[in-house]
Subunit: 383 residues, 4 copies
Amino acid sequence: MSTGVWLIGARGSVAVTSMIGALAVRAGLTAPTGCVLESPALRNDALPRLGDLVFGGHDVSSVPLDKKAAALAEAGILPARLAEAVRDALFEIEQQVRPLPVGATQAEVAREIGADLDTFRRRHRLDRVVVINVSTTEPAPPPHPAHADLDALRAALDGPDPVLPPSSLAAYAALLAGCPYVDFTPSTGARLPALDALARAQGLPYGGHDGKTGETLVKSVLAPMFVQRNLRVRTWSGINLLGGGDGANLAEPAANAAKSASKQRVLAETLGYQPQGDTRIDFVEDLDDFKTAWDLITFEGFLGTRMRMEFSWHGCDSALAAPLILDLARLTSAAHQAGRVGPLTELAFFFKDPLGQVPHALSDQWQVLRDAVASYGAPGTPR
Amino acid sequence: MSTGVWLIGARGSVAVTSMIGALAVRAGLTAPTGCVLESPALRNDALPRLGDLVFGGHDVSSVPLDKKAAALAEAGILPARLAEAVRDALFEIEQQVRPLPVGATQAEVAREIGADLDTFRRRHRLDRVVVINVSTTEPAPPPHPAHADLDALRAALDGPDPVLPPSSLAAYAALLAGCPYVDFTPSTGARLPALDALARAQGLPYGGHDGKTGETLVKSVLAPMFVQRNLRVRTWSGINLLGGGDGANLAEPAANAAKSASKQRVLAETLGYQPQGDTRIDFVEDLDDFKTAWDLITFEGFLGTRMRMEFSWHGCDSALAAPLILDLARLTSAAHQAGRVGPLTELAFFFKDPLGQVPHALSDQWQVLRDAVASYGAPGTPR
Amino acid sequence: MSTGVWLIGARGSVAVTSMIGALAVRAGLTAPTGCVLESPALRNDALPRLGDLVFGGHDVSSVPLDKKAAALAEAGILPARLAEAVRDALFEIEQQVRPLPVGATQAEVAREIGADLDTFRRRHRLDRVVVINVSTTEPAPPPHPAHADLDALRAALDGPDPVLPPSSLAAYAALLAGCPYVDFTPSTGARLPALDALARAQGLPYGGHDGKTGETLVKSVLAPMFVQRNLRVRTWSGINLLGGGDGANLAEPAANAAKSASKQRVLAETLGYQPQGDTRIDFVEDLDDFKTAWDLITFEGFLGTRMRMEFSWHGCDSALAAPLILDLARLTSAAHQAGRVGPLTELAFFFKDPLGQVPHALSDQWQVLRDAVASYGAPGTPR
Amino acid sequence: MSTGVWLIGARGSVAVTSMIGALAVRAGLTAPTGCVLESPALRNDALPRLGDLVFGGHDVSSVPLDKKAAALAEAGILPARLAEAVRDALFEIEQQVRPLPVGATQAEVAREIGADLDTFRRRHRLDRVVVINVSTTEPAPPPHPAHADLDALRAALDGPDPVLPPSSLAAYAALLAGCPYVDFTPSTGARLPALDALARAQGLPYGGHDGKTGETLVKSVLAPMFVQRNLRVRTWSGINLLGGGDGANLAEPAANAAKSASKQRVLAETLGYQPQGDTRIDFVEDLDDFKTAWDLITFEGFLGTRMRMEFSWHGCDSALAAPLILDLARLTSAAHQAGRVGPLTELAFFFKDPLGQVPHALSDQWQVLRDAVASYGAPGTPR
Ligand SMILES: NC(=O)c1ccc[n+]([C@@H]2O[C@H](COP(=O)([O-])OP(=O)(O)OC[C@H]3O[C@@H](n4cnc5c(N)ncnc54)[C@H](O)[C@@H]3O)[C@@H](O)[C@H]2O)c1
Ligand SMILES: NC(=O)c1ccc[n+]([C@@H]2O[C@H](COP(=O)([O-])OP(=O)(O)OC[C@H]3O[C@@H](n4cnc5c(N)ncnc54)[C@H](O)[C@@H]3O)[C@@H](O)[C@H]2O)c1
Ligand SMILES: NC(=O)c1ccc[n+]([C@@H]2O[C@H](COP(=O)([O-])OP(=O)(O)OC[C@H]3O[C@@H](n4cnc5c(N)ncnc54)[C@H](O)[C@@H]3O)[C@@H](O)[C@H]2O)c1
Ligand SMILES: NC(=O)c1ccc[n+]([C@@H]2O[C@H](COP(=O)([O-])OP(=O)(O)OC[C@H]3O[C@@H](n4cnc5c(N)ncnc54)[C@H](O)[C@@H]3O)[C@@H](O)[C@H]2O)c1
Ligand code: NA
Ligand code: NA
């Protein structure tokens, strides 16, 4: 099942790490560590293989992929020898990365995006193309009546003023072109009633939001522990220190607010109440893609005894995110093939702020994922 | 369903905290925080209520319960006003605590223990008595052929030399007297083939070992996270600093070794391999019952990137253990009533070193527990 | 040498803890742990003794001292039995605490404050009265031309509009009444050219700003370590989580900014450059006076190797601050007696944001302090 | 002032990192970060320059230096491009590294060592040669009467049985050959009365023991902070997790004990009492030269309030140690030239377990060092 992976933000850290990783695994140069679908419990023939993925994408930047690769190697995010080893294959991907189209109206931009997707699909004879947003996080857009209604949206897109934020325009274009869409960022993406309607009309699935790669991942296993032990969490406070392109952008208050909100949801949903405390994101340029998160949890046990737990997490964000991009491409492709339509709630395992009414405990999300994977390949499922 | 809770080590910190806690909850003075069976998902009428528990026990110490209570209050383990409020009720329990019997042979001691259990049951007209070992952790006993065979054991117990460590003698006596037995410590307890045979012969269930209240609890949710994300744990090292009676005893190399082994099992079982690193237990008298555990986990992600996580846990051991004693008494009573015989694998949720081939991920253990609780009370189950 | 200690904010946590502590030490109920002047290296007969201190003060709150004491005991900041033991003596101090005067002009308020100070001094036949500000931290005031010139200030104070923030008005009033003034908060206090002129004209010393009791204290020993080892600090980031009255106030952005700036100065001054990273203060009500600070330091060593250090500090702010109030009262009294005029740079040891060009390494500040203490009592010094 | 640096253990991590570092700094490829003598406050013309150092040494291993360099680069301890850039210069040093001599008696081995030192000095026309021990840590040797008396020692060395541990034999040989000796390890080295007598007879200085590069360094600034604030440290516990050659050796109980004792001294000496708690060293091979140390400090403040602090230190041991080797060579050379004889107490700044009655607070040690450096170059001092 040959699957195209079209990345919005194709020249960014996550995108390029995922490309190089896929090439390196395919070439047998490295193990698929961090690829969830490669763990024994989830391996399934109904999924496209890592080697079946074909990459392309849009970006507003024009820094060549190999230059970005060199920068990632320099920063210790990937081994220089791997970047070197896949240089030629990366150069082929370079040919598939196109500047984000511009146009007089958003409708026109969407058509151009769709045309790029069509060209990509035809040129590589792909069974399907999954569009994944890994571009810079946007601020939440101002509300607009056309967000709620597909016809109104179509009309508005023909007007001179932008109606959709870039992520939602990409989602619109992708769905229109028959491509499932996944948002790895906290941006709006397909999360508008009008776009949900479009996805359903097109018979397409979509997924998101905001890849879960660090502090929130840990929260999603610790919070259930407190619940299951019937211990009362009184405060849960955290800080995330990170540099990198993503960090720089998150230093903007609006983007920071979008992200912090994503990160808090797991507590209220899992605990059933909101403990005191906030989650901060601080930009510290020198830390680059190596994020340090620290959390303090104070809790109460039997007879009111006060106790506490701290953790610090020192992870490489791109290295944690990139294999999930590969997983999401394969899963969304299989879900599409299996006829799934609308929000892919089974992907909650991957996201800080998942779509739909879903469990927030990681172990529950894992079971939902495992069942979904099994169902994609169940006998009788259309392949 | 009136249930007796007979504690071996009834004058220790865990025992006295559990007694005072049960009395205080019953009197409406405090919430049952930390009592697993009081969480909405597990509440079940098939379980004896907290208020149905009647306490008694054996100890080699003769420090009165209220003196111990005062010491616990002084150390900040329980609020002085609670200890004060349940003083009279605690004095009633004092009457049920007896010195550990002595005798010429271990068989004789066992008979005396059984006689104490009978008296307790009759005096309080109890439906059943659950014996729980919360006494000082023993070193692992030297192997003995009689451990493997019930008849050989019976014969050996009549001889002049001790064959069983105290925890196993207590288990033997309890089972002989028709009482289910649970070991909250890492001591041998019922974990001998001869005693398993006795339990089956008597139609009795038993449970253990080693209450999971801190570092191992956290391990049992973090290790599955690494597995589910297909991240490779390279090293996992930890240290536990604790004082208190338990800490003093664990400073003995033999007891320390027994406990450290308990604490490591979760990693190999969950990860499927044993990462480098050890778990230490250090006695620091001044810390008393407030234990600090610190763990360092180094792991590898996509493209071999090295990452790390640290946590420190600052818990009050008795406050964490005591409500579990109440849970275990209620569960074991209900399991007995429901006709369960042999090792209670459904109690794995509570233990560092659970009996049988059981899951080690906390969330899986929780589901097993939930299903078991449901089954105890299922229609058609003998009540 | 009988010394009055007049506290602005006399009903706050720091104030009441310092009063109770002084009373308890005097009564032999507790050791003077945390009182710097009681360490062998600094004990000096030229200083007023702890028992010579007489307390009074102003506050805008009217909560009685013993009610505040009970709240502090309830929160675990001081032992209930100590609060009980000094109840009568505390009631005597209660008589010396007066509402902050109000008036038509700031000049009038200053006169009222001065009158209260005179009454206090006369009633207790005090050799001198030291005024110490431990009230709520203010936002930085808007600049005003009268801040730079004493005559202009005098004129402006007679006008209808407020010219000085409360801390500076207190400083003005104190100096006018012949009392040395110390600011334990980051507020402006005496830190205005016009007030410096007044202090000099009156022959009075003054001190400040912002008691150093946690994260900054640790910074002031760790930063010199990196300097002395010639290791390059690349980033230093921190977060302070605290509740309590002080925490609530610091949640206000303006006060928070004032405090964060105080906390960063030590790094630039000690390292000679400003590493990347910020210091945050977050209000988490439930933590009350128990503050947790966490800092991450990344640094570079030989051949560019990157290394890191983390610390977390869990301190009780009032317990750390209160003994320093006693130290500052005694030192300022002795400095006054020794004829010191103007900013007391020798008190840098106590402050996050000390007055004047002073060393910022704690060990250097300690030596300056020790030399100053010795000089106060040197033969020939006026006593 | 051309100075030979003769390293016992010349093929180890610390040795090779120090050689490559010296070459790289000399070639202008890297800054001398971590070299204490290169900080502005200590720069002094009386010291040999970094570029004046000439390297040689003994080792029992025969792994070539460039192979070790490649391994260090692979492990991330030094940049591969630096190792590459100094390859030729390193090859020249390779010619000066000789196998540790063997002989029928220890006297004979000492003569061979001395001969190697003489050859080295003559070949490079060196003003002096400093011998520094950076070989594997030894267990403490059994006591022997000859350790206390130089004549007895001379006699015993001629016998068939070994009298001295390798580090002391190296010290004996060095001193006999007119070379100052420094021990960077916790091994015995020159720390025997007979060897002190020899050093004095030869008019030579010596230094040690046990380079202070991590946890103990931090202790030496934090412990004085608690003293100066008159806070009572109740417990101080720590664990060091490390791999590498040194770590493997320290896993041996005897070596571990030697090292742990070194690490505890600073507390008792600085605080004036020994708080509860121990320091552990655990071998975790995979961590290699990147050591993680974690310490928990619990302390008591005003009115008995309990507080706590934790730190974790993640340092690269060789990168921290190597520049100190360069500092020690230069300082010892200058001290020798300045006529210093016997134990170099001014080097306490560098050691966990310094010689003599010296301050243990880092800031005091720094001042002693600064004064010593100044005195080496004072006018009138023989150069
Ligand atoms: N790495 C993680 O762990 C993680 C986790 C969750 C979410 N995310 C999100 O993934 C996204 C990518 O992260 P990154 O570290 O690769 O960031 P990055 O800054 O390295 O890359 C973002 C890329 O998007 C491009 N871009 C910006 N606007 C665009 C637009 N309108 N259309 C197309 N391309 C555009 C940029 O030019 C850049 O190349 C961010 O939004 C981040 O918040 C990352
Ligand atoms: N608190 C926890 O979190 C936790 C977790 C797991 C296991 N445990 C285990 O629970 C046990 C109790 O812990 P604790 O903190 O209450 O210890 P403790 O020292 O306060 O109490 C132990 C009691 O057992 C008594 N005892 C000793 N030998 C006995 C014997 N042969 N027969 C009867 N009584 C005997 C002692 O006199 C004492 O009163 C320990 O074995 C501990 O390892 C505790
Ligand atoms: N505790 C520490 O470690 C520490 C360290 C440095 C600085 N400080 C500063 O010390 C001050 C006191 O801290 P706290 O914890 O006692 O706070 P708190 O809120 O408990 O007490 C402040 C008191 O000041 C009173 N007050 C407010 N405005 C006043 C005014 N204009 N005149 C007179 N009284 C006034 C309040 O009514 C209150 O009683 C704060 O400014 C804090 O920032 C504390
Ligand atoms: N790196 C640090 O931060 C630090 C701090 C304090 C002390 N030290 C000490 O420095 C020493 C060296 O550390 P390392 O990391 O380089 O260790 P390493 O294992 O890499 O090197 C030790 C070298 O000594 C050699 N050796 C062993 N026995 C010898 C002998 N008898 N004569 C000559 N050579 C011998 C070994 O072959 C090896 O090449 C250790 O003793 C360590 O405890 C290191
Ligand atoms: Na910590
Ligand atoms: Na930490």
